[in-house]
Symmetry: D4
Subunit: 221 residues, 8 copies
Amino acid sequence: MGFACVDHHRQIRRGLPEVIYCPGKTTEQIIKIFSNLAEKGNNVLATRAEENVFVSLVRTRKFRNVRYEKAAKAIVLEQKKIKSSKSVIPIVTAGTADLPIAAEAKVTAEIMGQRTKLICDVGVAGLHRLLGHTQQLQNANVIIVIAGMEGALASVVGGLVSCPVIAVPTSIGTGASFGGIAALLTMLNSCASGVTVVNIDNGFSAGVTAALINRKIEVKK
Amino acid sequence: MGFACVDHHRQIRRGLPEVIYCPGKTTEQIIKIFSNLAEKGNNVLATRAEENVFVSLVRTRKFRNVRYEKAAKAIVLEQKKIKSSKSVIPIVTAGTADLPIAAEAKVTAEIMGQRTKLICDVGVAGLHRLLGHTQQLQNANVIIVIAGMEGALASVVGGLVSCPVIAVPTSIGTGASFGGIAALLTMLNSCASGVTVVNIDNGFSAGVTAALINRKIEVKK
Amino acid sequence: MGFACVDHHRQIRRGLPEVIYCPGKTTEQIIKIFSNLAEKGNNVLATRAEENVFVSLVRTRKFRNVRYEKAAKAIVLEQKKIKSSKSVIPIVTAGTADLPIAAEAKVTAEIMGQRTKLICDVGVAGLHRLLGHTQQLQNANVIIVIAGMEGALASVVGGLVSCPVIAVPTSIGTGASFGGIAALLTMLNSCASGVTVVNIDNGFSAGVTAALINRKIEVKK
Amino acid sequence: MGFACVDHHRQIRRGLPEVIYCPGKTTEQIIKIFSNLAEKGNNVLATRAEENVFVSLVRTRKFRNVRYEKAAKAIVLEQKKIKSSKSVIPIVTAGTADLPIAAEAKVTAEIMGQRTKLICDVGVAGLHRLLGHTQQLQNANVIIVIAGMEGALASVVGGLVSCPVIAVPTSIGTGASFGGIAALLTMLNSCASGVTVVNIDNGFSAGVTAALINRKIEVKK
Amino acid sequence: MGFACVDHHRQIRRGLPEVIYCPGKTTEQIIKIFSNLAEKGNNVLATRAEENVFVSLVRTRKFRNVRYEKAAKAIVLEQKKIKSSKSVIPIVTAGTADLPIAAEAKVTAEIMGQRTKLICDVGVAGLHRLLGHTQQLQNANVIIVIAGMEGALASVVGGLVSCPVIAVPTSIGTGASFGGIAALLTMLNSCASGVTVVNIDNGFSAGVTAALINRKIEVKK
Amino acid sequence: MGFACVDHHRQIRRGLPEVIYCPGKTTEQIIKIFSNLAEKGNNVLATRAEENVFVSLVRTRKFRNVRYEKAAKAIVLEQKKIKSSKSVIPIVTAGTADLPIAAEAKVTAEIMGQRTKLICDVGVAGLHRLLGHTQQLQNANVIIVIAGMEGALASVVGGLVSCPVIAVPTSIGTGASFGGIAALLTMLNSCASGVTVVNIDNGFSAGVTAALINRKIEVKK
Amino acid sequence: MGFACVDHHRQIRRGLPEVIYCPGKTTEQIIKIFSNLAEKGNNVLATRAEENVFVSLVRTRKFRNVRYEKAAKAIVLEQKKIKSSKSVIPIVTAGTADLPIAAEAKVTAEIMGQRTKLICDVGVAGLHRLLGHTQQLQNANVIIVIAGMEGALASVVGGLVSCPVIAVPTSIGTGASFGGIAALLTMLNSCASGVTVVNIDNGFSAGVTAALINRKIEVKK
Amino acid sequence: MGFACVDHHRQIRRGLPEVIYCPGKTTEQIIKIFSNLAEKGNNVLATRAEENVFVSLVRTRKFRNVRYEKAAKAIVLEQKKIKSSKSVIPIVTAGTADLPIAAEAKVTAEIMGQRTKLICDVGVAGLHRLLGHTQQLQNANVIIVIAGMEGALASVVGGLVSCPVIAVPTSIGTGASFGGIAALLTMLNSCASGVTVVNIDNGFSAGVTAALINRKIEVKK
């Protein structure tokens, strides 16, 4: 296509859905890549997509069942049936404003066959809200923790459980949160074992990694 | 003295002890300033003092009862009796390595007449250690929280109590702790109400501020 | 509510009003949280609220006496009578452009029962403007100092008084003020004793902390 | 112990060895904590330990079989038999200078029962060195990738496999590597799916997380 | 002209086209400089030009054959015939979103007489896409590599070839890409020999430098 | 006025015009301060003023001869005659895009009675443009040098003359110019003697300082 | 000399002493450059010189009257008589620890014929110490202000006087002073007119610039 | 060898000497790698080598003709005859303190067969020193420019010539030079065409790249 080198082996090799990261691409380019990917019959996920891109896709009338996940800003095309995981991946957020990132993690994990459970607005300044979910967290194979501002939630969750915790710093905050740097540093410096970190606001990467881990666990090698 | 402009009104005006911040001053300068301050019969505190400065001070044979607080790296001269506060200021640390900063806060608050209580090594990665002290924290008029690495302890303590919390980020940590920047940002971005922050490793400032607050409270206006 | 975990114990436990921090929340979410909080009969404060959120709240016709503090961008619902403090908390600003942050601190302290006094545009480049207020400042139990650009005002005020000073750096400034970082660093490095710092532009946090301190002082333990 | 709050539930709760992070602690403190932990019969790991701390430990004559892993700067006490994993965790480094961090990851994973395989000096500037290990990497359940300087190895490995990759930026490099910031940012921005990141030089955290993941996989839930 | 000091010797002295960097200049200023440069009969390139500037230029009816390269945001006036190079300069991009920068490099190199070949969307997370172009890259005299996010492509290309590689970090990315800083640092820290770096998004500078090098090679001294 | 503390002694004490820095002030506030200052019959300068503020000022019909300097975004009210300096202050810019900052410096110096001479677009990449002005520069009492991007012009000018050079970094540039940080650092690190620096884009401060210096020189003490 | 290109025209052209900046040069190189400069009979100043360099210079027995200014770490050779200025340049420091930088400014200004007056330890946290010097400051033609930590002294002095103020940030401070960055930013953002800034700890540059300004004033053009 | 994966194809594939970057490697590791590389009869260069490593190498008595370039901190083993280039690569430095980096560039270029010419101490604050070399610079095929502090030399040289300029920022400087960041940013933002940049202090990379370019030019394709 000139502007894009589509990688059809990727879905087989890595067990990933076909994914388009939309920022920096024109609507025209996105539609062409989307079409190219969809033709093989695979499931397709377009992340960080503005709603007008979705509208343009629908207008092509080429994609049945394509849908727009508004909170996540994701376009989803399910053409192949997705088999659900047995266990549930908790997606825990510190505040209501972290929801769009949680939604991106959720839609990503789900298109990879994972069941998820959103535990929302349980930041560390009111610990009892989080502690009420302790059992659910300790049952998980892997947990996604999403927090902006001081980002302390990942450490606290990490201290409660014995599974890996994927921490997503968000750009929520003002002043010295520096667009998520504060939360990022907090999470990188976590004293709790088993906490690893992805890029600021990168719900997608957290969703993929959590799914990769849980798949390995459920399909024991 | 040429190199220093000693401010004798300060003890009266601000109710502070005479204080010398040692870094960047020669031993000779410190001894001259110390002598000048001590002559008025006031209590004197020299912070961030190397032990050899203390030895040189002792050798002058001018100061009875001068002592060196090794953990705090502080030289203390008590010439005036200090009246003790009724309430106790908890000084809470996330880890063992934060102790020198806690010691500086402690010696500072004590020379200002405050009783203190050290609660050590109760970082957020093992919440139950902290939660065992909840009652003690909720009884306080003001609390000092000291933490390096991710610095999340201030937010968690702040969420448990209704008094002001003075947060001290420390330079303890490696890599992306950036000499205390990570903890500093965490504390500045705290979602918990009532948390204010002092400079990295500034146990002295936390001790002074906590003492100023508690004095005002005990000597109701 | 799914997207928010409202904490009704907080008002009792911490003596705080119910507070909603609006950025990152949709208008719909804010209204739902606001309604949920208001139902218990408590006072509610929504900070950083755009005027159109207020208009939407009014249109619900559910909240009598709700008002919009434009300078502070705060929505205030007073349902319970607030008892006024005896003493006054001075809120001092370096420049006219710092007023929105001062307004946020003011509305916050007031909903917590504090009387406040605004001392405006007394930056250090014209010291006589500040020195005229010395007596008023020395009478206070706690002072809020708000400054952008070089943020030097906190140190100068801190040197004049013997009470705690809560310093709020603001994002006012250009070039190397870096959105408030210059003022933040100035305040963190203050040589004056008793100065603690909150996040850039965080008038709310300054207002809460000043109120917590003054309450403790007036209601002597 | 005053200076430390040992958490004996942790080994049970989180399935972790007893761990002491040495920097900032005095030799005396380390020995006391080590003794306290060892008394319960558990395995103990002390990380970032200078060799003289080990010598002091040995001199106490209390710990049979304690050993010093020089490359990793780790003290290891194996009192309980460790059961070995079936699968092997590859630990891949970009350069020879990254070996100390790899050694820390290795000793950590091993005390948690994991078998490991070191693949050393396979940085991206000579791709054929890495590509020779492709099969081994694709067989793994989880991979640790360690790189300083530009840190690009994590992305390249991530693109070759379908398992989670734990990326460890190291402080190896000069000039604009900024003590590992360059590698850290590279890894956080990785385009390859499944890559998560730990703190600069934090081989310990990578080892723990990889072990937690592989345990979950081998002990299918 | 008062606001600009046009340098007509430059084209002769340095063998460069006349170039106008548009940001910060008013449309009126650009047109005057453009006219001044065009009068001498030389080729003119205006970079980072908004389309409305081009429209205003066309409306002057003074410039035949002036054209707008939309992807590159460049205005090109070819008045002198440009002689083509024998060899081709590969311009390699990591992703589709890097295309505007590639386009700027391309139009710049071409107005300096260089033939170019765009190799697009061959980022390191799918190595086989790049490796298919190995022969073409090894035949080149100089290569331009353009990448945002983690910017690792320059190192990988640099390791495959023995010619100089000019690396252009782009501002493509989110969160901790920090507007291109991550890619910039990656490229500056490249372990591959022969990699030099230009400013973030500076396709123009890469195009000029590649052209200067290839000219020297083709016109052997 | 509540929101502003106007300092009428300033014009006498410091020999400055009355100045209003507009950002962060409402139009209403600016008009009130402007009126208050103008009433005393002094000259008034409002910097960084949007054109609509000027329009609003004009509509009040209170200020004869008020004018808007568009390039400088300054409102100027000359009510008192300004006596001109004998010597001329050169204002040297590296590029055309630095003109707005030069214009601010110019209008500021002029309202303080200084004659100025703009030397524009003489950046170091084409030295002969600058060297043509050497004589003029060597005749000056003080020089203002304004440059963005790499900001090297201040060092080169500083090396040519024996008078003080006031360097103004500008935010002109892209990528790693970081909004003027690159130029700021260049200027702070200048090897040329006599170069001092003001804030990024602060033409006002450069104008004032140059005027203060030249006044002192012409009115020999 | 191969390693250095000595510029003998400089003393005439710029009216500067011969100056050697020592860091990064070997003792051997410094002695050769020093000898080369001294041969012409001019005065020579070597800054940031370790005492052992001075000892080595003395051992050559080539330089009569060479002396070492210990506080300033400067080597001074006065061969030509220096004519003293009529007016005095105040050098004001915030703290005792800023003295080495003040000493460098002083020795530099003096070798350029300026009389200086040190006003030491008058930081803004105790304003009355500074205000006692107001008259002396208001009589000056130019003032040097030296401060570390929060660096607020420059703004306060700048607000008291109508002459130019040269601000020198120092690296004195801990934690978030970041080696002088805090003071540098404070000074760059100063609201007081007439304040310009030199590099962190650059007493030399402040001394030169103050001397250049005062010379121009005393030798009215 | 376990700790290193030696790449013997590299010398053939990329026309590079065998190179060992020493930092982070133990002396024992360096000797083993050195021996392994030397056995094939190739030339070997070890950069950033402490002198004691060289002494240890000599003691093995395995390497005839191995020599230590002290200024460059490089160990050189020439076993194969190196054919000299016809043209000369100028290596230009701003100051004497930049010489170690220049020496590294020189030894690197020379082992790759390039003749070099050192032009030293010609920083921009004394332009006439540089301008005296104009002809020599304009004759070059490629130039290396090395500068610390403000790093402006690269732009000035770039403006004088029509060949590519490789700019090396050095860590020479104090305060706001931030270990070379100031010079790095200056060079990245250079307005002069044809300037590309390598890492701070990376004389090696500059030497390699200049050699690669000049080889291509002399062996016209």
